[in-house]
Each structure stands twice: as structure tokens, then as C-alpha cells.
Amino acid sequence: MDLHIIGQQAVNGLILGSIYGLIAVGYTMVYGIIGMINFAHGEIYMVSAYLTAIFLALLTAFGLQSLPVVLFLTLLLTMAFTALYGWTVERLAYRPLRGSTRLAPWISAIGISLVLQNYVRISQGARNQGIPVLLEGKFRLQAAAGTVQITHVQVVIVLVALASMAVLTWIMHHTSLGRCCRATQQDRRMAELLGVDSGRIIATVFALGAAMAGVAGVLVTLNYGSFDFYIGFVTGIKAFTAAVLGGIGSLPGAMLGGVVLGLAESLFSGFVNTDYKDVFAFAILVLVLIWRPSGLLGRPEVEKV
């Protein structure tokens, strides 16, 4: 048990955790506002990985040379397009079912997730796709008996994840739209009676959540460079777990849950066994739900009218 291995795995866990956190935000916001798990959210993340590759190629083809500019524009464009995907999914698959049984939108979500997977498989091919390594270089930190490596991409991941979380939190607490989101979350009918168009607010929440998944997609693609049409499933389940772990419905909870899950996974695979890392992650979920059924930062269930 060397200190540098702990350090290295903690760094890896933090990276993984911020990705989970970014995706978990989408689950938690949608659950908070309409009490539904958007199972298609993982697929939105998968689509964003493809969009990243497409925009990188397009921007380079247009002759943009500067790497930071290309990356920044790719991030913005991917966020915008995934937000559009999120909005469209809500509009087509969930809104028509609002007011029907509670189960209907869940089934619809599974359907949409299959549709998105196969649409990408048919249009982009079933094989692994990839992008070249764009950011090279790493920092080395001297630890007791070895070194801890942090690549530049990893630094970018943490910084971008923190920045987008900060912007999202700021939107929720300091803009008129954020206020209406919180009001709609607490009492949707009352918000409507005060003139808030709840349909519009719900659509915006889907778009915001999808944009965050888009950020995650860009970052993961930059880090690993390869993706296929099926990556949304496992990552989506993990991010959902992170959201439940942190307390579904709570924004800081989703971020915390992501980091806890990421750290647990990578520390376990560093010290015990890589094959059983998912078992450990889900075991933690089970334990937390036994002792704190509403999650780490969640509040006890309040009766919704």
C-alpha cells in the first residue's frame, strides 16, 4: 500500500467522479421537477461523444488552427446540440404522456433510449470510433516512494467540470429562470397559478441537464478518445447511481455522489480487484440506502400534491 498508488487512484477517481457528477445532474434535475427517471439521459451523453468528434473534425476542416479555440468552440457547439436533443426528447416522448399514468413516461424513456442507440448505430456504424490525442503532456508529482501522474487532459476535465457546475448552481440561484425552476420543483400547480409556464420550465430543465451531459461527453472523448453507440448505457446507470447516492433531487448531492462513486470505484480497483469494482460501487449504494434512504444530501420524502 504505497502512498503514490493511493494518490494516483484518488486522482483517477476524482476525474471519473466529476464525469459521473456532470451526468448525474441531468437525472437529479429532471427527477426533482417531474418525479421521473429519464432513462434516455445516458444516450444523450453517448450522442454528445459523437457530436464532439463531428465538431472537432468540422472545425479543423474549416481551417481553425488554435487548439484552445477549437476545443472551446467544440464544447459550446456540443452543449448547444445536446441541449437540443434533450429538449426534443422531452417534447416528443414525455410531454404528450404528462397527465397519463406514472408508468407511461418510464416506458417511453426506455423506448427513446433504444431509438437513440440504434439511430446512432445505423447512421454512424457499429464499430468503435475515435479521435486522435489532442492534448499531450502531464504533470508529475513526487510522492513518498514514487510519482503521481496527472495528465493535462485530466486537469482540463476537473476545471471544466467545476466551472460548469458553478455556472449551473449560479443559474439555479440567481436568475429568474432558476427561481422558477425551484418554484416549479416545490409546487408545480402553484407555480402555474402564479403565471409560470411550467411546460417551458420543464423543457428548459431537460435542455440544461442534457447540456451538462454534453460537457461530460466532450471531456470523456478528449480523455479516452474512443467511443461506440453503447457507452451511454453503463455510464448512464453509474451516473444514475451517483444521483441516488447523493440524494436524488439535490444538485450538490449529485455532484458529491459522483465524486464518492468515482473515488470508491478507482480506489477499489487499485487495491483489490478491477473486475469487482462495480460490485463495490453498488454495495456502497446499498449500504447508503439502508442507513440513509434519502441519499447523502437528500431530504426525507415530502408528500407531493
Binding site: V167, I171, H174, T175, S176, L177, G178, R179, C180, R182, A183, Q186, D187, R189, M190, A191, E192, L193, L194, G195, V196, D197, S198, G199, T204
Partner: protein, 289 residues
């Protein structure tokens, strides 16, 4: 006086049970109208239909606006009927409201309400509660809010100022930054009225505003209601069980029983109406002396 609100043939059925049966009344502009009746008479159901909380089964609710009248039932979006396809204007209107209608449009038309059981956003501050109610007036663009454009900031400041004005009038100015859920019950009730006022209504519907208040608070409330009418030009429709309050403030009383209007008129006239006495005291009409 001109009617601000006209309710005609309002019927509301839940399954086979008729909660309202062809209810009709008018509320004159600038008046204070009370809706009274025994428990379960359908008073709150009338409010729910008025404010778009329920979709009425049949009937028309017409609100006179500065730009003509508006049907508050159609605005919620009604199912299409076969006959609509013969009339393109009706069809277009129905399709529009079906897609973009909803109870938020009723509020935007100028109707605001409070609830019997207080429904505040408990985890938001008093001021935030008031700002949500002004959402429809503030610049709503996300980008404008994100970038803090001058127009957005000006609108926000105006909204805060308007919120503070209403807090001042209701005597809650000092509580502006407290969480709504932490306020004492009486203050919560007044905050709910302030929030309804922030939507800029022409018709204010109060559902049992005096419930749970002590006599002194009720007294202050009736002063407030009178002041809202005289100083702020509001038309008020209220449901109330406290007869002293009703007698003191209202110009016009509508009595409901078993979902039907059984009497209407001035408070004095209604008080002596034999049908009202029967409904309240449960006398048999034939069995009387």
C-alpha cells in the same frame, strides 16, 4: 357597474357526482363579492374552475379585459370536437390553446388566488416567492439572465421594488429575506396574499382568508381588503365562513348550496332570505310551521 367577471352555466362533474350545477353569477368591477355556503357546497370548486385549477365540464367564465373579453374555460385547452373542423377560426383557436394553453394563461389574464391551506414555496425566501410571481413581467431570457444585460437588471430591480411595496402594505417588510416556511402562520397567510398581488391581478380571489386568524387579525384583514379595493382599484371575490367579516366588507353575496346558487344580493337581503336560513340551519321546507 360593469361586470368584470361573468360566470354562466358553470358545471363541474367528477365522474357521476355533480359538484357544481349550472352556477351563474357576476362580479362587478371594483366590487367585493363574497361566496358563502355550508361546507361542501362547492365554493372552492368554483374558485378552482375560475383560476384554471380544474377544467370545467361545461359553462363559460368570461373575464372582461382592456382588449375585450376572454373565456377562461377555453384558454385551458379543450378537446377538439367534430364540428370544429367546419369552422377554421374556432379550430385555430382551439389548437392554439391546446398546444400553448394552461392555467398560467389565466394568471396572465389578470386572475390571482390564495388557498385555504397556505401553499407557499417554503424553501425559498419571502422575496423569492414574490419574484416568482412576477416572472411573467420580468425579462425571461436565460441568456439575458446569464449575461446580466442592463434590461434584465432593470427588470429585476423593478420587480424587487414592487415586491417590497406590497410587503410594506401587508406589514411584512422586515421578513423579506427570511425563508417563507419559517414565518408564523398569520404572516404566511399575508405573504400568500402579497404573492397573489405581485402577479398584477385585476380580480383577486381569496379562499377563506380569515381561517385560523384571531379576532384582532381578522379585523386587520378586513381593513386590508377594503384598502385593496379603494386604494389599489382591485376587484375582490372571497370565500369566507366568518360572517362578521362578510357582512363588514362585501357589497354583494352569492350563496351556494349543493353546487347550486340559492340566493344572491346585498348582505342584508341574503341574511334574511329563507332559503339561506334553511340551507344553513337545515330546516325542512315543508315541515316548518
Amino acid at each position: 357597474m360593469t361586470p368584470l367577471l361573468t360566470v354562466e352555466g358553470l358545471t363541474m362533474r367528477f365522474g357521476g357526482i355533480a359538484a357544481l350545477e349550472r352556477v351563474g353569477f357576476t362580479v362587478s368591477a371594483g366590487s367585493i363579492t363574497a361566496l358563502i355556503g355550508p361546507n361542501g357546497a362547492g365554493k372552492t370548486t368554483v374558485f378552482n374552475c375560475l383560476t384554471g385549477f380544474y377544467q370545467a365540464t361545461a359553462g363559460a367564465i368570461t373575464l372582461q379585459g382592456p382588449t375585450g373579453s376572454l373565456d377562461l374555460v377555453a384558454i385551458l385547452g379543450q378537446p377538439l370536437r367534430g364540428s370544429d373542423f367546419l369552422d377554421p377560426v374556432t379550430l385555430a383557436r382551439r389548437l392554439f390553446y391546446k398546444m400553448f394553453g394552461g392555467s398560467h394563461r389565466v394568471t396572465r389574464a389578470g386572475v390571482a388566488r390564495t388557498f385555504q391551506n397556505v401553499r407557499l414555496f417554503k424553501e425559498m425566501t419571502v422575496m423569492e416567492n414574490l419574484l416568482v410571481a412576477q416572472h411573467l413581467r420580468v425579462e425571461r431570457n436565460l441568456l439575458a439572465g446569464l449575461l446580466g444585460t442592463p434590461g434584465y437588471r432593470r427588470a429585476e430591480q423593478a420587480a424587487v421594488a414592487r415586491g417590497l411595496d406590497w410587503l410594506q402594505i401587508l406589514g411584512l417588510r422586515d421578513a423579506a429575506n427570511r425563508l417563507a416556511g419559517e414565518l408564523p402562520y398569520g404572516d404566511q397567510r399575508r405573504l400568500e396574499i402579497a404573492r397573489a398581488l405581485c402577479t398584477g391581478p385585476r380580480l383577486l380571489c381569496l379562499d377563506e382568508p380569515a381561517a385560523g386568524l384571531n379576532p384582532r387579525e381578522t379585523e386587520a384583514l378586513s381593513d386590508l381588503i377594503l384598502r385593496l379595493r379603494t386604494q389599489h382599484g382591485l376587484t375582490i371575490l372571497l370565500i369566507e365562513h366568518d360572517m362578521s367579516l362578510v357582512m363588514r366588507v362585501s357589497d354583494h353575496v352569492v350563496v351556494l348550496d349543493h353546487g347550486e346558487v340559492i340566493a344572491r344580493g346585498t348582505p342584508q337581503a341574503v341574511r334574511q332570505d329563507p332559503r339561506v336560513l334553511t340551507a344553513y340551519l337545515g330546516m325542512e321546507e315543508e315541515g316548518g310551521p
